[in-house]
């Protein structure tokens, strides 16, 4: 998604004046070796599991300054900086993570790991199944947001961190934030679910389903068994195009493309690419197939579809009753995939449980993508929330 920022805002915003974290190395942690596999929500077991992760900044002596950033659908552990000096672009939230930035790596130790089911170094359907010696494909078990969080918990334990100062993330990352506060209430002091929901809506499930249909009806998909052969790239590209439409807004599309024609002044009256918006979607789709595994797209969208934090009782307030963290919940006015009312439902359930929560609805035309674009407004909220809301450093005793 950083490429999208380039397209929307031009490169000057990305190369902001604040420093970068510089060169970072992706690390790997393997656990759940048989017979100690991770028990998954679907009833199956998975192991061994590798998580790809990156860290930025330094863990302080009492290990109280750790922040876990959890990523959205197609992102990865590479939040900030570059893995190689000649990388064309930095990590996906580089404008929010680094020295002097919202997640200030001079103060905080920032961790981000690729989710299980992913394809950026963590165990997923493209990983080798130790039982067969071949990629899992559809033998990979169905994973959920809860399973992703259980796996991250193992990583945090491995790093020797007893309690996270903060868990933060947007979109599917926000779902993981919420799950963290419910599954491990004692381990999270501050929570920032951004542009997210406590249960995926029928509309969002519908878009996911269409994306999956596109992949699964591509002849190259071959029931998920395509590794070492041609991948279902046209299906994945269509899925990505649908996704991008839901990440933008009517206004942002109008402002960016309008009815502009692509490289021509008169229409050709045929089925080649006529409009700029078509060309843009084609580009988004084509560039995505080079960096993402179609089966991972299937599995991770399913994980989002299954997410319903109000279960088993059906009442979100009840399910959030044990939460201990203080919250900053943020939504964006033009986000129609995770509209502000979904964030307000989260806030309402927290307030009814007498949990400290701040809520902000940021005015933005960028739709769901705003959480990656509106870095100035969002960053200021994050900076101050981290600085002043941590009960560890800002307890009432101070006054």
């Amino acid at each position: 998604m950083p490429e999208l920022l380039h397209l929307i805002l031009g490169s000057e915003m990305i190369s902001s004046e604040a420093e970068s974290v510089g060169i970072v190395e992706t690390q790997y942690f393997t656990f759940a070796e048989p017979p100690n596999e991770l028990h998954l929500e679907c009833g199956r077991k998975l192991g061994p599991i590798t998580l790809a992760y990156e860290t930025y900044g330094r863990l302080n002596e009492d290990k109280s300054n750790a922040i876990l950033i959890v990523h959205a659908l197609t992102l990865d552990a590479h939040v900030a900086g570059k893995n190689h000096p000649d990388d064309p672009k930095p990590g996906w939230w580089d404008n929010a993570v680094g020295p002097g930035k919202a997640f200030d790596t001079n103060k905080y130790f920032v961790i981000c790991s690729n989710v299980i089911g992913g394809c950026k170094g963590s165990t997923g359907p493209s990983s080798i199944n130790p039982e067969t010696g071949r990629p899992y494909g559809l033998d990979f078990p169905m994973v959920t947001i809860l399973d992703m969080v259980h796996a991250q918990k193992q990583l945090i334990d491995h790093l020797g961190i007893k309690q996270l100062m903060c868990v933060a993330g947007g979109s599917m990352g926000g779902m993981q934030v919420l799950q963290w506060t419910v599954s491990y209430p004692e381990m999270v002091r501050l929570a920032m679910p951004i542009a997210t929901t406590a249960r995926l809506s029928a509309q969002a499930i519908a878009f996911d389903a269409v994306g999956r249909h596109a992949i699964m009806s591509d002849p190259n998909w071959n029931n998920g068994d395509y590794y070492g052969r041609s991948i279902p790239s046209s299906g994945l590209a269509i899925a990505r195009m649908i996704g991008h439409i839901t990440y933008m807004s009517d206004v942002s599309m109008h402002q960016k493309f309008g009815r502009g024609l692509q490289d021509k002044s008169e229409p050709d009256y045929d089925f080649v690419t006529e409009f700029q918006v078509e060309s843009y979607l084609n580009y988004r789709g084509e560039s995505f197939v080079n960096r993402f595994d179609p089966n991972s797209y299937l599995y991770i969208t399913k994980a989002m579809d299954y997410f319903d934090l109000a279960l088993p009782s059906g009442e979100l307030r009840k399910e959030l009753a044990g939460v201990k963290a203080a919250f900053l919940v943020v939504s964006f006015s033009s986000d129609w995939l995770f509209p502000p009312y979904m964030s307000k439902e989260i806030v309402s359930a927290l307030r009814r449980n007498n949990i400290d929560v701040s809520y902000a609805e940021i005015q933005s035309d960028y739709g769901h993508d705003a959480f990656l674009v509106e870095v100035d407004t969002l960053g200021r909220l994050i900076t101050n929330f981290l600085e002043y809301a941590d009960p560890r450093t800002n307890g009432a005793d101070e006054y």
Partner: protein
């Protein structure tokens, strides 16, 4: 009518104190220590911050302006970005010790609704209003025949956010009719950063009234 110079009583090195409107000190005085306080229309959070510091209160606010919400988070306050006309459905009955509305009810579409909500959610409600019965207001209408403009009501008739103005007398009557007991009342004239208490005929001589309400 004892005059009280508030600024001389507080620490003027304190950033919050400098921004705290003088009449708010009377509200702080009404709040018992370590209470749970909800400020409706909390602005940039100066009152909440003062209550947190001076009364060790557990505080939160609701505010419509996005810049004010940012300012609250900057002060370490918990704030909800939203519209008061939507009510307080998220809050259980009597879940707050105090619900505060300072100079806010006159901008609401249904002040009666929110006052009742405040009295439902708060064990006590503190509500302050600019007094439209103040003599200067009356004089402008009486002798000049124009819509009154004062310190508290500085707007022209066409651009005023104040759509439900009241007088101290009207407000008392409202409380009586809605079975809200006035457990405390402070009437003031506010001028140049200082307040003067008004005890005689406040509906005529005071330009500002602060009410501490309890459900009967």
């Amino acid at each position: 009518m004892a005059q009280m110079n508030i600024d001389s009583q507080t620490n003027t090195n304190n950033d919050e104190a400098l921004h705290l409107r003088p009449e708010l000190h009377y509200i702080i005085d009404m709040v018992k220590p370590e209470s749970h306080v909800l400020d409706l229309g909390c602005g940039e959070g100066y009152l909440l911050k003062a209550l947190q510091k001076q009364k060790r209160a557990r505080v939160q606010g609701i505010e419509l302006s996005d810049t004010a919400v940012q300012a609250c988070v900057e002060k370490g306050l918990f704030v909800y970005h939203g519209d008061l006309d939507e009510g307080l459905a998220d809050f259980n009955d009597q879940s707050m010790d105090y619900v505060i509305l300072t100079s806010t009810i006159q901008v609401l579409h249904r002040p009666d609704f929110l006052i009742k909500e405040a009295a439902r959610v708060g064990k006590r409600a503190i509500i302050s209003v600019p007094n439209f019965g103040y003599w200067r207001v009356r004089m402008q209408l009486m002798f000049q025949g124009v819509m009154p403009r004062t310190k508290h009501l500085p707007y022209e008739w066409y651009d005023s956010p104040n759509i439900h103005l009241t007088t101290i007398k009207d407000f008392r009557r409202f409380c009586h009719e809605n079975r809200l007991r006035i457990a405390g009342e402070t009437d003031l004239v506010i001028d140049q950063g200082a307040c003067k208490l008004v005890r005689m005929h406040p509906n005529f001589f005071a330009d500002y009234g602060i009410f501490l309400l309890e459900k009967e």
